[in-house]
Each structure stands twice: as structure tokens, then as C-alpha cells.
Symmetry: C2
Subunit: 352 residues, 2 copies
DNA sequence: TTCTAATATCGAAGCGTTTCGAGGTCATAC
DNA sequence: GTATGACCTCGAAACGCTTCGATATTAGAA
């Protein structure tokens, strides 16, 4: 409980000016080897460590990075963004930053909806994960704070961002299905206004075309309002009611895939025998489904870590250069996909 | 990018002294209704918000709570403490605090192993989750910082803490097994030096005695070094090699239970037919095992939230009163336990 | 030798708050 | 009529740093 030493005490003990001590601590300016040694020793003996608040006030830096998440994403049911957040925590510690986390609603009005750490000037940079109100993004930008978006982009604007390699993922999925002999490959997506979903859809189409497979519009459903389980079920229903019979399906994400699975079961469509199914994201539950879902794994922690690295660079550089990082994805083959040959009707009945 | 207003600007605009403005902001001292109104209006018009750094320096508060976690617990494989952490984030936002997170190793030497936020005086209180070096706890205590331990306790010392209701949980487990007709109930634990594990073991014994079931030492294994899956397998092995044949088993946590399951499968012991098994914690995977594990659910996020509440109280009160909060647990019945009747040898063979 | 630039140290002016004590007004109690 | 205390406002002194400009010294270039 005794008073902790200040830079003044160090200066006195070292017999040097306070400002010289500061130079040593910050490794800036000119300091003789001798003076440096004296300062270091005094620091050591006193057990001195600079105060963050004082340093922050004088240098107008906080040592913190703000992490903004949309409210509906920071639920315990949504481990996707939660993992991104944990990824930022991991990486921030490596760079001697702390993460201040907050969530925001879809509305954005000043100053009520401005994250407190922005009002208090308590962060040196901001990470925004997932879709948030564009006005919030603009607000952060106007503050002149380094900014990195994760799995989100604002149309017509260039911000630094960390993106999932959606195109690659979609290709991996399609090529996996092709390699299994599938040709009638469908797509179930929703909320095409979400950049990631749109990109997956786009790449899906491109990839088929690249492999000389003609697109069949009746195998595609992409107009559900959201990207949750019920949207997947809804999409699957539309597809089946339409009379379409794809042998394989690429779902825009795992939640949608799960919805497809549920409806398939209701309608007596067997997975993978009658229909191979590939998801995207590799969320926790996917591995535990029956059958376990073949999917595209997204390295969620890596998304967060990359965002921190981007930001730390930006803070150091003080330049407004923006950059986009694409985090790799990988195919995880599980039980929801199989060779087309085995998918002919009755194949199972004859063996069972 | 234009300079943000300071308290000085507010004072000028309101035609009052800077200190009066401060009093209004902090709702302290005497301020006339008229003056308050003028200040509030000036603040509104200028869009003023106090700077955290300046306020921190002057008032020696940071608005942050430090969260210390043992290194091996902050892995992505260990969602238990990670969830506690998320629980603190949730709750901290409600009280206008931010969480600064760090991990520590088992060693503790000053000043190398001291969390940076402590050196920088950058937190108003500290939460320590899980077992850490006792010297670290003593160090925090010596700093005079409010402290709350989560799922950890230091022998012979009284710190505020948030505990799992281990006794209740163990009783729920035992009584569940008793209600299924089991009498030969075994225990597999490890690392009895961990307070939580010890308490579960203790309550297990007490509960049996309370129900007039004599303790059979040969049904108990509790000397493994750790509490992980392999320790569970090891314990199960010892039990079986010893020739003990409990009809039901209470494992000190889910990881241990999983180890038991694995070894049981190897040895041809069927769960639940030959052996009913109850775990503790309700970790993510437990629900997805085959069979899904009956266990005692621990509200992990609530542990974290309770710790924050405890700490916020302590910061406000400035008193050194300590308190222990017990967070409730609940029994989750799944497929790894069943009625004793069905467990007679051959019961399955005759139906299969 | 003289000038310049690099090196080294220092004092002082902030950074934007909180807090303390001084000083003033006014109503109430004695 | 004066003392007392509540109420109100203010200026100034911290809080513990960074940073700027001044000054001094030294080494190398001209």
C-alpha cells in the first residue's frame, strides 16, 4: 500500500533530469550509454513502472484497441464472432495492447449509440466485426482512428479489412462435390446483401462455369431473408416443392445447411445417400450432427488475430493506407457428402 | 479530426469555473440548479465527453477490471474458463467497466511475471479465475486492490470469491444415481489438491453416508495427478484392474468422465447398461458424446458475472469485507445413466 | 581555426481532469 | 446582533507523464 515511485523519484535517484528518464523509457532521443545505465539501475532498484493514465494523457495514446460487435452476434448461441473476439485477445497481448469490447445495436444515433471507449478517447484503433450500421463505421473513420473490419465491408468505401476467403471456400466445396461425381449441384443461400454470402454465391456460380457445368437456376434458392437455420429449412422446402432434385447442395453457411438437413429428414430425403450437403463456417455443432457435416472451415480466431495485426501496423505507421487480408479456409470432409454412385435410389435398400 | 472540446471549453461556454463543471459531471459537491443547467447545456452543445486518461490520472481510477487466467486455461480447447471470461465481459459492460484480460504461468516472480495492467496501475479491481500461484494472489492483495477469485481459493486466507456449489452438485449426482437404484457407486477424481475437486469428493462421501450407504474404498480412485481426459482413463483402468465392479460412477468432472467412457469402451464395459456415469461441469462436448453424458451443469458465464458484481460492490464500498458467492448448479440427465434393473449382466444380450 | 551537425541533458510547458481550501452569501439559531 | 452552518463558486495545486526548445559539448568538415 505504500506509494509507488514516479518518474520523478527515478530522476532523483539517477541524478538526472526527469525528461532524460523519459527518453530512456521510451527509447527515443539521444541518451548516453552512461546515463541510460544509471536510469535503468534506478528503475530497477525502485521497482518503477510508468503509469498508463499519465502516459496516456501526455502522449494521447491509450494502449487499448476497441472491439465492436453487433449485439445479436455477441450471444452465447453465436460462437462465431465470440471466437473472433477471443482471437483478438490472444493477439493483442502479444503486442502489448488490451482489448476493450462493446456491442452495438443496429441503430446509430449520436451520441447515445457511440461506444463509450470512443467518447472517452480510450482506444488507439478499432476493430469492427460483422455487419454494423454504416454510420458507425463512418463515425470511427471521421475520428481519424485506425480501423479494421472483420467479415464485413462497406460498399464503395475502402477500409482495411480481414475477410474470409469466401471464393476459395466456395470453390473447395464445389470441387469436392464434382470430384464425387456430382453434376446437379444446387445452392441454398439467404440474405444476399451480406457481402460474405454474396461472395460465396458468386464464386459458386463462377466455379461451376469454370468447370463447364451449366448453371441450372431451378437448383438455386437464394432469396430467404436471413442466414439462420429456419432460413435453410425454408430454402430447402422451396427447392423440393419446386420439384428440383439436385444430387448435391452447397449451403451458404452451416446454419443454413442444418436447416436443409432438418427439412430433408422430414421429407424423407436421405443425407448423404440421396443428397450430398456441404456447409460453410465449421461451427461447433457441425461435427456433432447426424451425419456430421462436411463443411468449409473458417479459422475464426485467426480472423481476429489478423485484425489486430493490421491495426497495430496502422497505429505504428500512422498512414492511412488500407489493406485487405484474406484468411484461408479449408475443406473438412465429414459424413454429409458421398460418391454420386452410391446415391442412386435404392442403393441403400439393397444393402440394408 | 478537429480538436474535441475539453472541460475548459465547457466552462467558458457556461460562463462558470472549470471546477464547477467538474462537480456537475461527477454529481458531487454543491451546485445550484441554475449552474447545473447551464453546464449541461454547454456539454450538450459542444458534444463534450470527459477523457478517460485525464480523469484516470486525476482521480486514480481506471474504469477497468483486470481478469487473470492461468495460461493453460486460456486455450481454445478449454472453453470452461473462456466462458467465465465472456461472462465478465457481459456483466462489466452493464457497470461501465472494461475488462483487461491476461494470462499467467504457474511461476510467479516479480516483476517479470506481474501482469502489465497491475504495473501500470490500470485496473480498479482484479478477478482471478482458476488456480494460479498463491504469490500472485498475495501480490494483488498487497496492492490493496479489490480482488475476487473464481473457482479457486487460497487455504487459510479469506478473499472474496465466487464458487461453484460443488457440494450441491455432488449430492445431485449421487441422489440421481440412488434414485435409479444404484448402491455400488464409485468415484473417480484426480488432483484432490484442487479445492473444487476436493469438495466434490468430500460431498460425495458425505452424501452417501447421509443416505446410509456405506463407503467402499475399493470403488474410489482419486490419486491421479490431473483432471484431464487421460487421468480419467487412468483412473478407470485402476478401478477395473482392481476388480471393482461399481454399477455407477461419479466422475469429478466431465473430462474425467470422458476418459472413463473411453476406457470402458476398450474393456467392453457398456454405458449405461453395465455402468451408469455422471460427470460434472457440462462442457460443450458432453451433450454430443455417445451416449450423451449425464452431468451437473455449471453456469460458467454466471460465475464470471457474479465475480464482476462482487468486485463492483467492493470498489464502491471501499471496504475490505470479503464475501463468498455460491453459484447454483443443476442436474442434466442424459443417456449415460439408467435404472439399475436394466444393468444386470446379459440384459442387453437377451434383447439384442 | 571556424563552422556545422550530431550528441547529450535539462527545464518548462503542457495533457484534461479531480480535489482542496478559500471566500462569499444567506437563512437559522441563539 | 452575532455566530453557525449549509450552500455555492472559484482558483490553484496536484496527478505522472511526454515533448519541445534551449543550451552545452564534442567531433568532423571546410
Amino acid at each position: 500500500m505504500k506509494k509507488r515511485p514516479t518518474i520523478k523519484d527515478v530522476a532523483r535517484k539517477a541524478g538526472l533530469a526527469l525528461s532524460t528518464v523519459s527518453l530512456v523509457i521510451n527509447n527515443s532521443g539521444y541518451v548516453s550509454a552512461e546515463a541510460r545505465k544509471k536510469v535503468l539501475q534506478a528503475i530497477e532498484e525502485l521497482g518503477y513502472h510508468p503509469s498508463r493514465a499519465a502516459r496516456g494523457l501526455a502522449s494521447r495514446t491509450s494502449g487499448n484497441i476497441g472491439f465492436i460487435l453487433s449485439e445479436d452476434h455477441f450471444s452465447l448461441a453465436e460462437p462465431f464472432y465470440t471466437k473472433i473476439f477471443l482471437g483478438t485477445e490472444f493477439e493483442a497481448r502479444k503486442h502489448n495492447y488490451y482489448i476493450l469490447m462493446t456491442t452495438v445495436g443496429t441503430r446509430f444515433r449520436e451520441p447515445t449509440d457511440v461506444p463509450r471507449f470512443l467518447l472517452e478517447h480510450n482506444v488507439d484503433g478499432v476493430i469492427i466485426a460483422g455487419r454494423v450500421n454504416e454510420k458507425l463505421v463512418a463515425y470511427v473513420d471521421r475520428l481519424g482512428l485506425p480501423l479494421a473490419l472483420v467479415d464485413f465491408a462497406v460498399p464503395k468505401k475502402h477500409y482495411s479489412s480481414v475477410q474470409i476467403d469466401n471464393r476459395k471456400g466456395a470453390c473447395l466445396a464445389v470441387e469436392h462435390l464434382l470430384s464425387l461425381g456430382h453434376r446437379a449441384i444446387g445452392f441454398v443461400g439467404g440474405d444476399i446483401s451480406h457481402p460474405s454470402i454474396a461472395e460465396r454465391f458468386d464464386a459458386f456460380k463462377d466455379c461451376l462455369v469454370d468447370h463447364a457445368i451449366p448453371l441450372k437456376p431451378d437448383l438455386i434458392v437464394a432469396d430467404m431473408p436471413g442466414t439462420a437455420v429456419q432460413d435453410g429449412a425454408e430454402g430447402m422446402k422451396v427447392l423440393l416443392d419446386r420439384g428440383s432434385r439436385p444430387t448435391a447442395l452447397f449451403a451458404a453457411n452451416d446454419a443454413i445447411a442444418i436447416g436443409c438437413m432438418q427439412l430433408a429428414r422430414q421429407r424423407g430425403v436421405r443425407i448423404p445417400e440421396d443428397l450430398s450437403l456441404v456447409g460453410f463456417d465449421d461451427i461447433e455443432t457441425s461435427a456433432h450432427l447426424e451425419p456430421p457435416l462436411t463443411t468449409i472451415r473458417v479459422l475464426k480466431e485467426e480472423l481476429g488475430a489478423a485484425a489486430v495485426r493490421t491495426l497495430v501496423e496502422a497505429v505504428k505507421a500512422k498512414s492511412a493506407t488500407t489493406m485487405t487480408v484474406h484468411v484461408p479456409v479449408e475443406l473438412v470432409v465429414r459424413g454429409s457428402t458421398c460418391q454420386l454412385a452410391a446415391a442412386s435410389p435404392g442403393a441403400r435398400a439393397s444393402t440394408g
